[in-house]
């Protein structure tokens, strides 16, 4: 089966571009040009060069010895937390800023939840000397204060989104409105594999460097061509898309996404979209969403600002529907345990988002000879307040 996007922008029944007419010129410009741009020699040279010398790629694939001993298997950590700016988000923003430049755009907008994508966008805008405006839910501005300060220092304007729950969904609405109102000189750097076609495909391609590296790194270290299993957290799903990408057609590699269950999937305080959602259209693509019977989008909740999104990328909706990937969930409490476990066993403080992927280790069966890769999508610096509050240090 083909799990990639088709010519019309769909993954199975999911995807498409459900955009108001006001966004059509921007999206069409991107759709008609993105593949040619990102496949061009000049682009590849600059992209690969920046990933290597600016971001610090390849990120290590680290054999977590003590964690492996505890779970009696082989666990490898893909260290996206060691990237410049502290998460996988920079892979995509470097790619998109180069696309924006090729399209002649001068002004960049972005939405952000945990601030990691906003920070990565502010960073590449500073690097390229472009104006940067980041929309962030007012609640997230509060709970991710260190990232807000960094974005401002980098020269970005951070605009708090005051509608709805004042989190990621609302920041995305505001960024879309900005784009509608600024159709000529602005590029919208979407931070996940969501939004209208071609964003889910474009972002997945930029993030696919993660799985590309996992393949050769694992082979180099173990002689095995493929891991038995890849685990990644899923909000919109960009780090998971990147970690799964080169394994999509390798049916013997188990792909596991982990959603944020918040206080539990049996409570309203949750963001476990695939577990609880149904098909619908949000932010311009057809996917699976959390919604009421009347089609109103419900307000998600998670302890991690990067995962409390009521939708998911259409690629994941299709992987879920076709059962190519399995999607589990982890509650806030399980996530905090998993974060502390990694910190004390391996000396790595993960982002709350990444700790969702780690929490899955307790929920699955792993054999001693198997190799499992967990994508550590980001580092925990931005979450220290939350950790300190819960652990009482």
């Amino acid at each position: 089966m083909n799990y990639q996007v088709n010519q019309k922008g769909y993954y199975g029944e999911f995807g498409g571009a459900y955009i108001p007419e006001m966004m059509v010129p921007n999206i069409e410009e991107l759709r008609l040009n993105y593949l040619e741009i990102i496949n061009s020699y000049d682009f590849r040279q600059e992209f690969i060069g920046l990933l290597k010398n600016y971001v610090g790629r390849p990120s290590p694939l680290y054999y977590a010895k003590r964690l492996s001993e505890k779970y009696q298997t082989n666990i490898y950590l893909k260290r996206e937390d060691l990237n410049h700016t502290g998460s996988h988000k920079i892979n995509n923003t470097i790619g998109q800023i180069l696309v924006a430049k090729k399209l002649g755009k001068h002004r960049i907008i972005a939405e952000t939840g945990a601030g990691q994508h906003g920070l990565a966008t502010a960073t590449v805008c500073a690097l390229m000397g472009l104006k940067c405006i980041v929309y962030m839910g007012a609640v997230d501005v509060e709970r991710q204060a260190p990232n807000v300060k960094k974005m401002k220092m980098l020269g970005a304007e951070v605009i708090p989104a005051l509608s709805g729950n004042q989190t990621l969904k609302d920041a995305t609405n505001e960024a879309m409105r900005d784009w509608i109102n600024n159709p000529v000189d602005t590029h919208y750097i979407i931070g996940s594999v969501v939004g209208p076609h071609p964003y889910p495909d474009m972002v997945a391609r930029f993030q696919s460097v993660i799985s590309e590296e996992i393949r050769w790194q694992l082979e180099e270290q173990t002689g095995k061509e493929n891991p038995d299993r890849v685990i990644a957290c899923v909000g919109g799903g960009s780090n998971a898309a990147g970690a799964f990408y080169h394994f999509l057609d390798q049916e013997n590699v188990k792909l596991i996404g982990v959603e944020a269950a918040g206080l539990g999937v049996d409570t309203p305080e949750t963001a476990a979209t695939l577990t609880l959602g149904s098909p619908g259209v949000l932010h311009s693509s057809r996917s699976i969403l959390m919604q009421t019977d009347d089609g109103q989008i419900t307000e998600p909740y998670s302890i991690s600002a990067g995962l409390d999104y009521p939708g998911i990328g259409p690629m994941h909706a299709n992987l879920f529907k076709t059962k190519r990937a399995e999607y589990l969930w982890a509650t806030d409490a399980e996530v905090l345990d998993a974060a502390l476990e990694l910190t004390q066993l391996e000396g790595i403080i993960p982002a709350l988002e990444s700790a969702h992927a780690l929490a899955a280790l307790k929920k699955i069966q792993m054999k001693p000879e198997e190799a499992t890769v967990v994508n550590i999508s980001g580092r925990g610096d931005k979450d220290m307040e939350t950790y300190l509050k819960h652990f009482g240090y």
Binding site: E21, M22, P25, N173, R177, I180, G280, H283, L289, G295
Partner: protein, 260 residues
């Protein structure tokens, strides 16, 4: 096809006044009284907004009204219930305007059938793509005597405009500038060129200009370039406050002095 929108544009070629309001705003049961007052005040066409939690094409005023309406308990089922007898008292064309997701959740066929039963003449769904309309929606719309009203903007290419005109029935919604609803508008040279460009294309469908039409002056200006204009945010804003609906509606419509 016997549709009230066609009849309106056959009979009235200019100064068509269309008004948008959000169903269930400011109070849940205001929907029908607002329609009846608008009719009393001589409005030609009414767009009834179906509130949505994430209205990305709308500016702050309509966003806020949608939020309040949802908090009031407005839903598509509730709206259909409120409108079930509307054709006993109202003759002018009625259009439902809203986003695609609530329509899909209701069920496209069930939704269109219900619209037909009630006597709704058309739909405006800004995030329904042209190709999806053509391949999936069009037969259902046609079977239920519903027009789908497409939007165009200053950035819409001539080629795409021709295509939209070909697929359209009823009228074309000319968004006055590249913006979300409620953005400030006076007719700039750029807009003038856009309006004149579209006029010179001799499209088969009549056009109404919307977004940023807020008073007599902007309405009059817009009417120079199209069959009429649509007022949304300014009217929704006028619905705030403590006056009766009768006072609020007539007070506002009277300020659109060019209404003939």
């Amino acid at each position: 096809m016997n549709n009230r929108i066609n009849k309106l544009f056959q009979e009235k070629k200019e100064q068509v006044l269309s008004v948008y309001f959000t169903a269930g705003y400011p109070n849940l049961e205001d929907t029908v009284p607002v329609i009846q007052e608008l009719v009393k005040n001589g409005v030609d066409l009414i767009e009834i907004g179906m509130p949505f939690s994430d209205p990305v094409a709308d500016g702050p005023v309509i966003q806020h009204s949608s939020l309040v309406a949802l908090q009031n308990g407005m839903s598509i089922r509730k709206l259909f219930d409120q409108l079930k007898d509307i054709r006993k008292s109202v003759e002018i064309p009625l259009i439902l305007m809203g986003y695609i997701n609530p329509v899909l959740q209701y069920g496209l066929e069930a939704f269109c059938k219900k619209c037909n039963e009630i006597g709704i003449d058309g739909l405006i769904i800004p995030d329904l793509p042209l190709d999806v309309y053509e391949t999936e929606f069009k037969p259902v719309f046609e079977a239920n005597n519903l027009h789908n009203i497409f939007l165009i903007t200053p950035q819409t290419s001539d080629e795409r405009l021709r295509k939209i005109d070909e697929v359209s029935t009823g009228f074309i919604y000319m968004v006055s500038s590249n913006s979300t609803t409620g953005a400030k508008a006076s007719v700039s040279n750029f807009q003038k060129q856009y309006f004149e460009r579209v006029n010179s294309m001799a499209l088969k469908n009549p056009r109404l200009i919307g977004f940023g039409i807020s008073n007599a002056e902007t309405f009059r200006n817009a009417c120079q370039y199209a069959s009429g204009a649509i007022i949304g945010s300014a009217f929704v804003k006028a619905m705030e406050g403590h006056n009766t609906i009768e006072q609020k509606v007539s007070g506002f419509i009277n300020t659109i002095a060019t209404k003939s």
